[in-house]
Symmetry: C2
Subunit: 552 residues, 2 copies
């Protein structure tokens, strides 16, 4: 019987728990599963990315043995360029995932210095006290994997992002047999993807999307323009096949769509048996009814291909009556407004737009509730940790597990930074490690904190008003006029209210200048208070007010 | 045959078209249908409300005869306090709508000066060349109406917001017979609610919600807390009835919920046959299984009842294990994140949370596609104007109408501010009138324009950096140190980068001070350019940079 303890710690993420990074620690060894980013929420203005807080890993740097990546989506690989330079350890991933990581590391000039290693399905990798086996799962990117991790206290299964799709387009379904084998051998801990737990039943197979796409593309008279995720190679393959079937050639638009499809073709994940994939220059010369365009922009990203088309700002494609635009994707929470604006604009340009759940041109990459029940039953873990979701998903997942017989004490609802400690026959929470949001903004990583964000939110609401007062160093008397400028508060600094505010300030400060207590910092604060009060009373707005005293 | 022309002009709204206000003009008479607000979009930070642009009405002030309000929702009545003071004309509305308008006018101290008049269903009101008949429609607020408007060039039917619900809770369904009568007499123009056109089939009846609510409330062991719209009296009635049936008393929480239910009780729109509606103080003393709370906050509004409960910030109610919280509403686009955060927090506090479409605890107040086909068939208008939606809704509605036989030239897809001109046998677009967004921010109405909003968005992204330089008026030489402050850019003004920026600025400006061209405005601009470039190179961020030269 193992005497050590296994510690599992989810790190990072905004709202979502256990998604971007999970730490497994036993004795003097740590392995890290995934290293992804989250996209900033509405209350994080100006932030580019949020990466996991690796303070704990840095403190135990000598213990960290390797990173194991489950699949190539941004929320699982995106933080590698920021985190890896701190750790000179290998990164394991399957083939296509390595391709996607390579593109990213090359951009950050880190490819040569990274020890990126091949993980093959069902070929265990030994790493200290851990033996890690990749098994295939179906997800919305090829070569996605779950991990079976043998540890001294028993086997841990981490599903990664997955669904049980037994008829995916690439004929590579979730490896139920490996799951069954692991379950038969006995699994101590299951970490399972909770993202889709709100959906009753089963997530439809990727192949069901083909039927709907076929109908729309067959009936389209003019050009067909499809926007989808550039890593969703199975979807791209279906659109290529359907286009070929109906006599259309296919051109790719947008940087990531062009890059990823090229890489997928090179690595053999995308095929073009009909030879229909051509550069836009050649496709452009065909009649409209023979043209399919695959583009980025399914999330309404402002500078993406589809958004430029919708805004009449695309160099190659002007949307016109007769075009059929298909949004083969669901809006990720937070992107709804951007996506809706594109749809409106495309309609106004005369296109037929196919979108939304009723169109059946998209399926999720995550399992529905019944799939999770099947998974739990096959694995029959001693302990369950729902991961990859917001609090509601994890709790619903936990209740679902309890409803099919898991003892409540054996389901641990995790939190980022909260340590879970396991032995062969026990599981408990054991304290916390740092797990703050680490913000990337421009070149800065982690240099922006809550004060800066609070100020940005304040500035966005009612703008800023700045008062500059010059004071004679010796006499403490005003040495020049009071200058007042504003941005985001009223149109132009010559509004009457700004003039009134200046007069009010001069008047209110008269007594102060002559007093002995006229320290610059005191005058500065008084000026701020006077202005804040005056402006609020006049406008019921609360701009950020800054007072600045310059001694001359 | 009438020789005049009828002009119909939709005004106002952000994205949504023909919803907040519609102008009908014939000869020397103008009537206005509705006078509502829109809520600001994400790209309008700090804005409280958006009201319609009434420039055109002000130019033709002498022509304006009356306002006709269809129902009491904010997007149809909310702009009255801002618009009415310019027009001394009567406002017509049905009984409950008048109640809701009165609350609003009283808050703005406008109730006494307003000529608020009763509109009775099916009792025509003459107004210049117009004869207006209110007919009842089912919608998510009682006493909602559509309008049949007889004009010299024929009858105009405006549905208002509606759905064809033939089993609503108040036993007051959409008045199909009046619609049939109007259709039989002949309708020239139909303006119809497009909001729900993306939904295939029929919108379920309000009564279907009762079955689901009954099951959840019957099975709840502890307290039941339901959040819904405070004007959705039929929903409130159902919850009161179901609570009574299962031995629960009902308390109201939140300002608008308390006010509206009180008014609905007073006016007879809400009944309490079981005597179960009680003040919270009395309900609080009951066992948990006998308590129902009806609260505001279904949209995640930060200071609402439910949000305070979710944030453990509510004075009366602390959410605990055993509580069942029901979100009997759908998130309005833009509110998804706020609503989801509340749900997560409620789960974490241990509540059972019932939410989302799968729970069947909410139905829309707008018609689905088949209902719109029925409406169009009953009315058989000569011309159709889809209204109340974003561009995609209107265009889908238009295509749907064409698919059931409307000639394309007879369907006019409107735009806010675009004039539609009708005679007995013609319809055409005829120019535009002003229809900008008019922003309400604090006490300011219309004083904020695009520059202020652009500055606010800029400030929110990377903050602001201000450089203050003092210059001797006579010599043009620096008269004091360069002061640099920032907000929302880096944590604290004592960061090394701020010091470096100051040094760079002093160095770069040295040559300039000694030159002849050292006008303050020139120095100001140079300082801004130098700083912008320096900060971008160092951080790849673009804060708003302000240079300010003070002459002493």
């Amino acid at each position: 019987m193992a005497r050590g303890k296994l510690r599992i710690i989810p790190l990072g993420g905004v709202g979502e728990i256990g998604k971007n990074m999970t730490v497994l620690e036993y004795g003097n060894s740590i392995i890290v599963v995934d290293c992804g980013v989250m996209f900033p929420k509405e209350n994080m203005p100006g932030i580019d990315l949020v990466i996991p807080d690796v303070t704990y890993l840095l403190e135990k740097k000598h213990k960290v043995k390797a990173f194991f990546i489950t699949h190539g989506h941004e929320d699982h690989i995106g933080a590698l360029p920021y985190v890896l330079p701190n750790f000179e350890v290998p990164v394991y991933a399957t083939k296509l995932t390595r391709g996607l990581i390579s593109v990213k590391l090359r951009e950050h000039k880190l490819l040569d210095s990274t020890d990126l290693r091949a993980a093959e399905f069902n070929q265990p990798i030994d790493c200290g006290p851990f033996r890690i086996e990749y098994f295939r799962v179906a997800h919305s990117v090829p070569d996605a994997a779950g991990l079976g991790i043998r540890t001294p206290i028993g086997t841990v299964v981490h599903t990664g992002d997955f669904k049980i799709d037994l008829s995916p387009i690439d004929a590579k379904p979730t490896d139920i047999r490996s799951l069954a084998r692991l379950g038969t051998e006995g699994v101590q801990i299951l970490l399972a993807d909770s993202t889709g737990v709100e959906r009753p039943g089963y997530t439809p197979s990727e192949s069901t999307v083909g039927r709907a796409l076929d109908e729309y593309i067959r009936n389209a008279e003019g050009r067909v323009i499809v926007a989808t995720f550039s890593s969703l190679i199975a979807r791209i393959q279906q659109i290529v096949n359907i286009s070929a079937k109906h006599g259309r050639k296919v051109a790719f638009m947008g940087r990531s769509m062009t890059q990823n499809s090229r890489m997928a073709l090179d690595l053999g994940y995308l095929s073009d048996p009909g030879g229909v994939i051509l550069p836009w220059e050649r496709v452009a010369q065909l009649p409209a009814g023979q043209i399919t365009v695959l583009t980025t922009g399914a999330q309404g990203e402002p500078s993406s291909g589809l958004s430029r088309m919708a805004n009449r700002d695309h160099r190659q494609i002007q949307i016109r009556k007769g075009d059929t635009v298909i949004l083969s994707a669901a809006a990720i929470p937070g992107n709804e407004e951007l996506v809706a604006r594109n749809i409106d604009n495309l309609f106004e340009l005369g296109a037929t737009v196919i979108y939304g759940p009723e169109a059946h041109v998209h399926v999720s990459g995550h399992p529905g509730r019944e799939e999770l029940k099947i998974l739990t039953s096959i694995i029959s873990p001693k302990y369950l940790i729902p991961v990859h979701g917001e609090a509601r998903h994890l709790i619903l997942h936990a209740r679902m597990a309890e409803s099919i017989g898991m003892p409540p004490g054996h389901v641990l609802v995790p939190q980022n930074g909260r340590v879970m400690e396991f032995t062969e026959d026990s599981a408990r929470f054991d304290g916390r490690v740092p797990a703050d949001n680490v913000f990337v903004d421009g070149l800065g990583v982690g240099d922006i904190g809550d004060i800066v964000l609070r100020d940005r939110r304040h500035l966005s609401q009612d703008g800023v008003v700045i008062a500059v007062l010059t004071v004679d160093r010796r006499s403490g008397r005003p040495a020049g006029p009071v200058e007042l400028i504003s941005r985001g508060f009223v149109d132009g600094s010559d509004e009457p209210i700004m003039d009134d505010a200046r007069k009010q300030l001069v008047k209110s400060l008269q007594g102060i200048h002559s007093s002995a207590a006229a320290e610059p910092s005191y005058i500065q604060n008084r000026a701020r208070d006077i202005l804040q009060k005056f402006l609020y009373e006049r406008t019921k707005r609360r701009p950020m007010v800054l007072g600045l005293v310059v001694e001359v």
